[in-house]
Amino acid sequence: MNIVARLAWRNLWRHRRRTWLTVGAMVFSNTLLVFMISMQFGMYDLMIDNTLKVFTGHMQVQAPGYKDDQKMRQTVPDIVPLAGRLRAEFPTEKIAARGWAFALASSEERSYGVGIFGVEPEYEPQVSSIPGLIAEGRYLQQSDAPEIVIGAVLARNLRVGIGDELTLLGSGRDGSFAAAVATVVGIFESGVPDVDRSFAQMPIVAFQDVFFMEGAGHQVVISAPTLEEAERILPDIDAALPSDEGLVMHDWDALQPGLKQAIKADMSSAFFMYGILVVLVAFSVLNTQLMSVLERTHEFGIVMSLGLKPGQLGRLVMLETAMLGLIGFVLGAIGGVIVTSYFSANGLSIPGMEEMAANFNLPPRIYFQATPWTMAIGPFVVFVFTLLAAVYPALRLHKLHPVEAMRVN
């Protein structure tokens, strides 16, 4: 260690208590920042994943305008062959065709309005988590069988079980009256009441028959292995679409615009709080360093009259601050890592928040995202602000006059 570093280090420990208190402020903030940022990003990932895997997939091919209006006649023609062709061209992606219609479903005792999806039984399980949530019976098998799979709450409300028949009444693509009878073969339970209450699935060919779709559907759902992969492949798939039908490609952000914005809104309020924490730490450091400079006025006067320049002293002060900041950084990061790795392994559950969590498609237990980035960013910003806070005390040294300074006691 060279002489300046040694000096700085010793100066730091002249007031052990003050140094530890200042470091304490940093450690507190750093640990908290690491904890909160990891939790936040863990939550966002879950929100995106969970929301997209229920239905939406990473992207969808639709007729223009369908996304906003969801009208029956805004269709993708010959949807099953189209999905098949895309599957052949993009073997790494999961692709399935769907149709959607609204109908009044009646059992012997009850009638409720439900959204009905026509799906490809063979491929739907790859793009949606619903087929995997069958709690009773089985999922759809043949694409033309008059079968239906419904949610658990809906089944309870309609008072139907496996093997019972449902009458569906709705309007077809051309607005004409559509009616059919389908047998309940499976009941799914996602645990989210809204999902379990409000829709049903039937095989796409049977769906097309009932609602006079003439081979058409409403959406081709595409799921990529990862979000990044999805963004990369979107233009390729877009280019592979038949050019004469004006079909459009929507990415997940367009399909679920609420998602990114909910994250953004949450982020801005979180960052407000982080900002305040950092500013408070900076004040703490500013206070400490200013004190340590002021109380050494006499001493600085002597060394300056011995020939040391204010700039050199300034560097000394900055070095002291950097050492202080580094201790805070290391201890805070260690504290943060310990807390975070505990929660990324065990998850965090806040009692009473299950319902709020369910509203955002979150499981009741949240696993933290522990990446070097989420761990380092908070302490790093604190470190930078620590250094900034020392600039004023360091600059004050330039105003020091050696002789006057020596007189101060």
Binding site: F102, E109, S171, K260, L280, M353, E355
Partner: protein, 410 residues
């Protein structure tokens, strides 16, 4: 106690001896307090709005149902008491507002499209006070009485159904025998709502028209009562409980919409945690300042002790110093908070994230809400925890041995 004025004066002067340190600390406290109040006002604004919109979309602070209705909202599970009897039972009581209504899931179909909706058969006169819709802002007209033959639907729903005022739609639901009950309606009005889901999901028809359509005589599926405000409904709840048939289910809005109820609780907890966290970040600086203030005048303290000042007075003086510091910070912080929140009363446009707010059930303009109780909470937290934080430095200062302290070198 006799010493209090003197000690306060001493403490005040000490504080300004090192004015730079004091100013830095006061700034830190001010920023901390400001952020506590400001942030709380913003979050309160958002959550209150979500809850209020949610409550007004229910609507009714206290609701009475058949016990089976909430899980299975079918006309089969209606309230077995007719309107005539209800009027007799409640005519003598002094509820702010009450109404009985028919509320069942239904399907609405235009010539092009059909959608699932919640059918609300209401008596528009009795429900005016519930305030979930401003009748006068409806395009066309709102329902006029319980026998009105028209239907009022949301503008968003009308768009999806490709229909408009004057056109006809068909409503389908089920009657108690599970026969399909359907009826054609002419759209007489279109309403707009802050929350899109409300606009898309609810249709209004006259109560008696609904009863006729569903073949349920003069019975209804829910009775709703209005409290003074949504946070203070216990008196109403108790009154309803006392005056209604015990076999029926009486619930608060927070029980009907458990999500909203838990949101309110979580929010109260969050405010407290947020304030304490900010204070803790502050406390290091506070303790540090006090420790330094004691440290640099060890000799003086020794001298005062030698001159006969009691240790308890030294203790008191340091604590008073800390309290003064906090008070100055609090005053500035509170003023700052009021000054920044006041201009934002008209609402902050957050339409950039409108759809995200919609996911949470909020509208796209955020109105900060400054509660006096939150302000008091912030101030009490800072003063109380600040007092605790200053105990240790003050205690140490009062324990100095006079002779040792006086001879201590600088």
């Amino acid at each position: 106690m006799r010493m209090l004025p003197v000690l306060t004066r001493l403490a005040w002067r000490y504080l300004w001896r090192n004015h730079r340190r004091t100013i830095i600390m006061v700034s830190a406290i001010s920023v901390g307090v400001w952020s506590m109040i400001f942030m709380t006002a913003l979050s309160r604004g958002m959550v209150d709005q979500v809850i209020e919109d949610g409550v007004s979309a229910l609507p009714g602070h206290v609701q009475v149902h058949n016990p089976k209705f909430l899980d299975d909202p079918s006309v089969v599970n209606r309230i077995p008491i007719g309107d005539a009897e209800l009027s007799r039972a409640f005519s003598s009581t002094d509820f702010k507002a009450w109404a009985s209504r028919v509320r069942v899931p239904a399907v609405i179909a235009s010539e092009y499209e059909s959608r699932g909706v919640t059918l609300l058969g209401i008596d528009p006169v009795a429900e005016r006070e519930f305030g979930y819709l401003s009748y006068d802002d409806v395009e066309g007209r709102f329902l006029e009485d319980a026998d009105d033959n028209g239907i009022v639907i949301g503008r968003k729903l009308a768009d999806k159904l490709e229909t408009r005022v004057g056109k006809r739609v068909v409503l389908m639901s089920q009657d108690p025998d599970n026969e399909i009950a359907d009826r054609g309606f002419r759209i007489v009005g279109l309403f707009d709502a802050e929350v899109p889901a409300f606009e898309e999901g609810n249709v209004f028809i006259g109560k008696r028209t609904a009863q006729k359509m569903l073949h349920i005589g003069d019975t209804t599926t829910e009775i709703v009562f209005l409290g003074d405000n949504y946070r203070d409904i216990e008196p109403t709840y108790d009154k309803v409980l006392a005056s209604i048939d015990g076999s029926l289910d009486v619930s608060r809005w927070s029980e009907v919409a458990t999500y909203l109820g838990s949101m309110l609780t979580v929010m109260d907890g969050f405010v407290l945690i947020f304030m304490v966290v900010i204070f803790l970040a502050l406390s290091f600086g506070l303790v540090n300042t006090l420790v330094m203030a004691v440290f640099e005048r060890v000799r003086e303290i020794g001298l005062m002790l030698a001159l006969g000042m009691k240790p308890s007075n030294i203790l008191g003086q340091i604590i008073i110093e800390s309290m003064l510091l906090l008070l100055v910070g609090l005053v500035i912080g509170n003023l700052l908070a009021v000054a920044t929140i006041h201009p934002l009363r008209g609402g902050i446009d957050i339409s950039v994230v409108a759809e995200g707010m919609e996911m949470m059930g909020a509208a796209s303009v955020l109105y900060p809400r400054l509660y006096v109780s939150d302000m008091i909470l912030a101030n009490v937290i800072v003063l109380f925890l600040g007092f605790l934080a200053s105990l240790s430095p003050a205690w140490r200062a009062s324990r100095y041995e006079p002779v040792e302290a006086i001879t201590k070198v600088g």
